[in-house]
């Protein structure tokens, strides 16, 4: 099941180059908003300054320090810009996720990709935003509690002053915090998938179900997450290796690096689409088949006839195939 979901997910990404390209372009556009001021600044300080050429070979702390000190406003400005970008990215994520899931989980109804994407994005944006807030409210105190609890549990290790034990204890705390954050990130992913599959509007309920799902299906959920994480790491490793191996003294190397960086950004996006697709398939395969809901056929009632009696209560709906939308 996990393998099939992974394989299908990756196939799904390769079958939808338009979606991958759209997401890559979206991310690029967002990143450019912060990258352009940086480019303006570094062009101004470096274009006529040969002393900065050493940075073409790699980082040089002395030169970086002097560039930064030459304009004390640049670091706070960049930090503020990055913080703003992070916030916008989170909000944008709530928007994009609906579009991605709409495209990868529905069979397509012959409508253009952009239409389906933005229809899904717009349709689920409000709910995914609420999910994000709920996830944050849940994750922050739980992560803090985990950190405190593991810290307390490992305190005995550190009390003896044995340095390796101290560092290992720190590593254990960090690992537990990382796992907790990872758990909530995956739960958020599955909550979104479940929202789309069920078209539910009860976000607390969906969040609770997603948490239970991730706990009960840890191996499968983790496998998909690890494969996707591995793909992202591999892309990162390729770009880093290139940057370290080559000095950017020539235009050819710079052009090559830009192409490689963007190719890897594209690959990361494809991996993410594949991951979302696999999560959807995995979730779909495990969730109970939708229970047919008896739909009472309304009879034409005589004007003065008594109101029809209430029908039997519906069975609880865990999920339904997503076939329509509420208006």
């Amino acid at each position: 099941m996990i393998g099939r979901a992974l394989a299908e997910g990756l196939r799904s990404a390769t079958r939808r180059p338009g979606l991958v390209a759209l997401l890559w372009a979206w991310n690029l556009a967002l990143a450019l908003i912060v990258a352009l001021p940086f480019w303006t600044w570094i062009s101004a300080v470096s274009a006529n300054a040969p002393a900065t050429d050493v940075l073409l070979d790699g980082a040089d702390l002395g030169v970086i320090m002097q560039l930064v000190l030459a304009d004390s406003r640049i670091v706070p400005a960049l930090m503020a810009a990055v913080a703003g970008l992070a916030l916008v990215s989170l909000l944008s994520g709530a928007f994009l996720s609906g579009g991605i899931l709409e495209v990868v989980l529905s069979d397509g109804d012959g409508q253009p990709l952009l239409l389906r994407f933005f229809r899904g994005a717009g349709h689920f944006f409000g709910r995914f935003l609420r999910l994000l807030v709920i996830a944050g409210i849940t994750a922050v105190p739980v992560t803090a509690a985990v950190s405190a609890a593991v810290g307390a549990a490992t305190r005995r290790l550190t009390a003896g002053g044995w340095e390796p034990a101290t560092l290992w204890a720190m590593a254990v705390v960090l690992a537990c915090v990382g796992l907790t954050v990872g758990f909530f990130v995956l739960a958020l992913d599955y909550a979104r998938v479940m929202t789309v599959l069920s078209d539910s509007r009860s976000m607390f309920r969906i969040w609770w179900r997603a948490l239970r799902f991730v706990v009960r299906r840890t191996p499968g959920v983790a496998s998909i997450g690890l494969v996707a994480g591995g793909g992202v790491l591999a892309a990162f490793a390729v770009t880093t290796a290139f940057d370290v191996a080559y000095s950017a003294r020539t235009a050819g190397v710079i052009a090559g690096a830009i192409v490689l960086h963007q190719a890897m950004a594209l690959a990361r996006t494809a991996v993410r689409v594949g991951q979302v697709s696999a999560q959807g398939l995995y979730c779909k395969g495990l969730l109970p088949e939708p229970v047919p809901v008896p739909v009472p056929v309304p009879l034409p009632a005589p004007i003065d006839a008594p109101l029809p009696a209430e029908g039997p209560p519906s069975a609880p709906v865990d999920a339904v195939e997503h076939v329509g939308r509420e208006s």
Binding site: A35, F38, A51, Q66, A70, S89, S92, G93, I254, M264
Partner: protein, 690 residues
């Protein structure tokens, strides 16, 4: 107790000796004057973390004065309470370490008697020569019933009891680890008139300050330390004996002459790593020959001697033991070849536990503390040369503080600054210029990079180098360590490596086992270099201004060929401006303009490098005195760039980015770094936004 730096400033112009001849070699003194002698018995109580001791001290009056009192340091009282000058100044934090609830420490003198039995305990008075803090208990004065005549001596016995603090600010304990430094009542230095610029003789005995170290006179130490038998012990000097007692304790006996301090350590966890530095095997004949040639000394004068190296390792750091050993041996060799033989038989290197880092990176005679972390056993942290850097630096202090015994209170740069400068040279020679401080992942950590970064970051906060350490406006480590190191590097660039090497060697030869002042260094540098360097020392060491030169503007434009009537070889020729015109004036030429500015107040001679297309770099000298200099050059080639200090020798330049300017902008760097920045941002957006 007048600060000697004022005298130093006045003496600089007088000390200069003009003339190009380098100074003749001075012989390295074999021993100090041995002004003082300590015999100390001390016992460690690991339960209470206290030591109880008894010291017999003999002091010889080196001056022409009759001295009627004794001044002693009680350094551990710096940790006694929040009213001490040390705690007031430090706020309970020092060297990245913070006081804990167990960091209170003190030392009580319970008895003070002269050799004839005269009890002076009741006559002890606390002094506070540096501030008005009557609560400070780190200096005592003991009036003597009879003055000590010139060249006479006095012997006294002090009984003391001390509480060691939990490690903070160099000294103390952490669980079973003890680094016992500045622990015994220690005499100040009686400075005769004329010494370090003093007008009249007197005691130099400062309070313990947060930002200052120590000052004491040379002598002999015989110390017996009694500890429980499970402890492994290391100390200043040579071990002369080990006596086991029936009560489960052991007494270790150590001796060392020609030193001005004594420290020891004890920890049951220490792993002893013993090696020998061999002056014949660890130094090649070529290295001896090169050193002799560089310094203008004979082969015999640069001969080194063997040293027993003991490294006391924490078990968790054993993977780094050989790094300690190797760097210690490299330091013995390179410092020895450059500044004279390390004269002691032993060197003890202590590796403190990581959570006792307050005691790491400290120097005592023949005894230093390193500092590393368990993480440094593993990549990428293993690429950093932290343990090597600390070991080399602290060993360097054997020369600058240990043997050239400056007053660390008043002129900290003479030990910290010179040691930082010479450490950099040793690290570069041993580990490469670009990777002197290691390599972390893909980033090289060169010494010059580090100096430049520090100068860039701190030079705008103006203060002078020559100043009592506790009176800096802040950034003690910049003014005592980094700025002097950058200033000495800059001086090296100005004088050349050979002359600078001879300056440093001569300074060591003249002042080994003595107490120099800044003025003595300035005078030595001027004398050995054969030029008056007062202009440099006044600006950089005594002044607080910054040094910064910039190429402010560059341009190049085609000059239209001359038209009209010119005389060529006695013939009148009419030039039309066409390329077919005969005569040199008609050839296409470019006029290039370069505007160089002095941005800071410090003046320094610089060379302006000019690069024309297809031609080797041209250099133009400028004395750097005026505020600006404009060069107008007409060449057949276009100017590509202009630069001041193209060779990067003026390390003190506060902004090296403005040192050069090219005519045509180059977009490679902005494109490359923007692309990387963009890629990073895309990762962030991708992680948070999908």
């Amino acid at each position: 107790m007048r600060p000697a730096w004022i005298a130093s400033a006045l003496l600089v112009p007088l000390a200069v000796v003009l003339g190009p001849a380098p100074a003749a070699a001075d012989r390295l003194p074999e021993r100090s004057e041995r002004v003082v002698s300590y015999q100390i018995d001390v016992r460690l109580n690991p339960t209470t973390k206290q030591i109880e001791g008894r010291e017999t001290v003999t002091w010889r009056n080196p001056s022409a004065d009759a001295v009627s009192d004794l001044w002693l340091h009680l350094y551990l009282n710096g940790f006694k309470n929040t009213s001490s000058t040390f705690i007031r100044e430090s706020g309970g934090q020092l060297r990245g370490d913070r006081m804990t609830d167990n960091s209170w420490g003190w030392v009580d003198v319970t008895s003070f008697r002269l050799a004839d039995g005269t009890d002076l305990t009741g006559a002890i008075r606390f002094e506070h020569p540096d501030d008005d803090n009557v609560e400070d208990r780190t200096v005592i004065r003991v009036p003597l019933p009879q003055a000590v005549p010139s060249n006479g001596s006095v012997t006294f016995e002090v009984v003391f009891k001390a509480q060691l603090p939990e490690v903070f600010a160099r000294s103390g304990y952490k669980r079973d680890y003890y680094l016992v430094g500045q622990w015994f009542p220690k005499l100040g230095v009686y400075e005769p008139a004329g010494m370090r610029g003093r007008a009249a003789g007197g005691w130099n005995c400062h309070q313990y300050h947060a930002n200052s170290e120590f000052y004491a006179d040379y002598g002999e130490f015989h110390v017996e330390m009694t500890v429980p038998s499970r402890f492994v012990v290391g100390a200043t000097g040579e071990r002369k004996g080990r006596v086991a007692h029936k009560d489960g304790t052991v007494t270790y006996i150590y001796e060392q002459a020609d030193v001005h301090d004594f420290a020891w350590t004890a920890d049951p966890a220490f792993v002893e790593v013993r090696r020998v530095f061999s002056a014949s095997r660890d130094v090649t004949p070529e290295e001896y020959a090169r050193a002799a040639a560089l310094l203008g000394r004979s082969r015999e004068e640069v001969q080194l001697s063997d040293v027993d190296v003991l490294v006391l390792m924490q078990p968790a750091h054993m993977a780094q033991a050989e790094r300690y050993v190797q760097s210690a041996k490299a330091a013995i060799k390179r410092f020895g070849l450059s500044y004279g033989r390390y004269p002691y038989r032993t060197l003890t290197v202590v590796d403190p536990p990581q959570d006792a880092s307050g005691s790491a990176g400290m120097e005592y005679p023949t005894f230093i503390t390193g500092g590393t972390s368990y993480l440094a056993n593993f990549w990428p942290f293993s690429g950093l040369r932290g343990s090597e850097g600390v070991t080399v630096h602290e060993f360097g202090h054997q020369f600058w503080y240990g043997m050239v015994g400056n007053n660390e209170f008043e002129e900290a740069w003479l030990d910290e600054g010179i040691t930082t400068y010479t450490t950099g040279l040793v690290m570069e020679a041993e580990y490469g210029v670009d990777t002197a401080n290691g390599r972390f992942m893909a980033v090289n950590m060169g010494e010059i990079d580090m100096l430049r970064a520090t100068v860039a970051a701190f030079s705008r906060n103006k203060d002078s180098i020559v100043k009592p350490a506790w009176r800096y406006s802040g950034d003690y480590s910049y003014y005592a360590y980094m700025k002097p190191a950058a200033a000495l590097r800059t001086l090296q660039g100005y004088l050349g490596k050979q002359t600078m090497a001879r300056v440093m060697r001569t300074f060591q030869e003249r002042w080994r086992f003595r107490h120099p002042a800044s003025a003595d260094f300035f005078a030595t540098a001027s004398e050995v270099s054969g030029q008056d360097l007062g202009w440099y020392f006044r600006q950089v060491f005594l002044g607080s201004d910054i040094l910064d030169y910039a190429v402010d503007a560059v341009s190049t434009r085609r000059v239209e060929p001359t038209r009209g009537v010119v005389d060529v070889n006695g013939k009148r020729v009419t030039l039309t401006g066409a390329t077919s015109d005969k005569g040199s004036a008609a050839a296409a030429q470019y006029e290039s303009r370069v505007l160089v500015r002095r941005m800071g107040e410090v003046t320094f001679p610089v060379r302006i490098a000019l690069k024309f297309q297809g031609r080797p770099v041209e250099r133009v000298a400028w004395d750097g005195v005026d505020r600006w200099k404009r060069l107008v050059l007409v060449r057949r080639e276009r100017l590509e760039w202009a630069s001041v200090d193209q060779d990067g020798t003026v390390i003190l330049d506060a902004d090296m980015v403005n040192n050069a300017r090219r005519v045509e902008p180059d977009a490679r760097l902005s494109t490359w770094w923007s692309a990387r920045w963009l890629s990073g941002l895309q990762q962030l957006v991708s992680f948070l936004g999908m």
